[in-house]
């Protein structure tokens, strides 16, 4: 759906040049939620603003739905922008307009007649869960509610693509989760493609299908969110994964586990996606006459299921333990690693 080739943006000021986006190439599929993560100053905002030409690219091409954005004249660009929704960290609502009139603004721009506008605005208010707030002014809303208005406004012209620049960075964790749920909801309901910029890995973890890691204007790593979580290559990426999973160094704690639990067998379970894994432990405990003791672990939920590791101690008959392990290996995608065999 979106194909970006050799995109570059060089800012010049005070006779200095800053390459904010550097030879960036990327393909984004229709209907996916694509995350771009990077530290402050990596060039994320510049990148997303190049997509609707709020910044003019220095070089490169951007194709959205087979339309070459970089070649459009002013008028065609305005029309193309009506089909690309955008939401912002600080919401950017008009304080002089009510919720209703803020959401109606893009429809005014697109030239909808009043009656149609009102109908569409009501649909959107229901979609984002703001019923009853139609006539409130932005100053009377909480941050989460303001972002809901922002989302409704961005969706007003039924765009195929939604750009989100740090859309949850000004919100508290709980509100962030609610807004992210809303984004997943509209992604599924409307088949909308979403490109999302963030510096928070848990946002990527929670809703993205694929992710690109940005550093110094370049994409240094990209892939399925789960793959990136499992096998981060670059130092930046590893740091971002640690944001969610904690520090990866386990050797010491493993040693400690082996010494403390000197009975039975200790295994490590790697969860790498798939939602069916969730009842795994209780399933195994019911099916085989063994005791399962959870020792330590960290599991996180991604868009494609659980990801993380769990250390468990198995106690019981040696052959029963063997069968249980085989069951897990055969029937699920969970990887089993034996840390210590039974004595």
């Amino acid at each position: 759906m979106i194909s970006i080739k050799g995109l570059q943006k060089i800012f010049t000021f005070d006779n200095k040049q800053i390459t904010a986006v550097d030879q960036l190439s990327l393909d984004i599929q229709e209907g996916e939620i694509f995350g771009v993560i990077g530290y402050s100053g990596a060039g994320k905002s510049t990148f997303i603003r190049l997509l609707n030409r709020l910044e003019e690219p220095t070089e490169g091409s951007i194709q959205i739905n087979n339309q070459e954005i970089t070649q459009l004249n002013k008028k065609d660009l305005r029309i193309a922008r009506q089909d690309i929704g955008m939401i912002f960290q600080h919401f950017n609502l008009l304080w002089s307009r009510t919720v209703k009139d803020n959401i109606a603004f893009p429809l005014e721009i697109a030239g909808f007649p009043t009656a149609e506008r009102e109908k569409r605005v009501q649909e959107l208010i229901d979609l984002v869960g703001l019923s009853g707030k139609e006539n409130a002014y932005p100053s009377q809303l909480s941050g989460g509610q303001k972002q809901r208005v922002g989302i409704a406004r961005a969706l007003a012209n039924k765009p195929k693509l939604l750009l989100c620049d740090e859309a949850t960075s000004a919100l508290d964790p709980e509100t962030t989760n609610a807004i992210l749920d809303l984004l997943v909801d509209i992604n599924e309901k409307l088949g909308l493609t979403i490109i999302l910029i963030t510096h928070e890995m848990h946002v990527i973890r929670k809703i993205c299908n694929r992710v690109a890691v940005m550093e110094n204007g370049r994409i240094v790593e990209q892939g399925d969110v789960l793959d990136v979580f499992l096998h981060p290559q670059q130092t930046v990426t590893k740091k971002f994964v640690e944001q969610v999973m904690g520090v990866a160094d386990e050797s010491e704690s493993i040693h400690h586990l082996i010494n403390t639990y000197n009975e039975g067998r200790i295994i490590r379970l790697h969860f790498i996606g798939e939602t069916t894994n969730q009842a795994l432990i209780s399933q195994v405990a019911k099916a085989y006459p063994i005791d399962i003791n959870i020792l330590q672990g960290k599991i996180t939920q991604t868009q494609r299921g659980a990801y993380g590791t769990l250390f468990v101690q198995l106690k019981g008959d040696s052959s029963d333990m063997e069968e249980a392990v085989t069951f897990i290996q055969k029937n699920t995608s969970v990887e089993v690693e034996v840390i210590r065999d039974a004595h």
Binding site: N92, L94, S96
Partner: protein, 222 residues
């Protein structure tokens, strides 16, 4: 009772002078509002990073504004005599004062408009661009409504300055309360007239201030 306190005061004359002051102030205010908004918009749109970024036009408008703001009003009236005569066919009376009043006040208000526009959240302008808004839409549906409380406070301040200007214009023959106070009060040594004129002007200023504050408050939903 009034005649006892202020023996030289003629109510009819006072009424006429007050009417002329209102007349000059209101008409000049309308002209100032229109030209000031135009100047302010031009300054804002052509500034660095603006929608119509243009160094040359920005410099010209800024120079015009700065020069006319620098000239003391009493001198501006004298300077504009030929222009006023050409435009209005006379240099006496309330109408003849209007060109000088507007040219004196519009650059001042233009600067206030520019400041008000600069206060509009850049993110909101950006969001409007991202929605595909035309420049015209951005001006009339975003910039002006979003800066309206500041535009109203600005025009209130300007109105009060204008009332002062009308009094000065009055002294050189434009009519109004300044004219009345000077010719019928000061020159005839009837200081009661000067005093009453002062009181009326202060009341007019208070009225403008009250109305301006009220409207600015009412429309401010921030």
């Amino acid at each position: 009772m009034l005649t006892n306190l202020f023996p030289a005061l003629k109510l009819e004359e006072l009424w006429q002078a007050t009417y002329e002051t209102f007349y000059m102030t209101i008409l000049a205010l309308v002209g100032t509002f229109i030209f000031g908004i135009l100047l302010g918009l031009l300054l804002y749109l052509t500034m660095r990073g603006g929608i119509w970024e243009n160094k040359f036009i920005n410099l010209i408008v800024a120079s015009f504004v700065n020069i006319f703001r620098a000239i003391p009003f009493i001198i501006l009236i004298l300077l504009l005599f030929p222009f006023t005569n050409f435009l209005m066919g006379t240099i006496r009376g309330p109408n003849a004062a209007l060109p000088a009043l507007i040219i004196g006040a519009a650059p001042f208000y233009g600067r206030l408009v520019e400041i008000a526009l600069k206060e509009v959240d850049k993110g909101v302008v950006e969001a409007s661009k991202a929605m595909g808004a035309k420049t015209r839409t951005i001006i009339f549906r975003v910039l002006l409504p979003e800066s309206m409380p500041a535009l109203i406070s600005g025009i209130t301040v300007t109105a009060i300055a204008l009332i002062g200007y009308t009094a000065m214009a009055g002294v050189i023959g434009a009519g109004g309360l300044g004219n009345y106070a000077y010719y019928f009060g000061f020159q005839r040594r009837d200081f009661d007239v000067v005093l009453v004129c002062t009181i009326v002007i202060v009341v007019i200023v208070f009225i403008f201030q009250f109305i301006g504050d009220y409207i600015a408050n009412k429309i401010d939903k921030r």
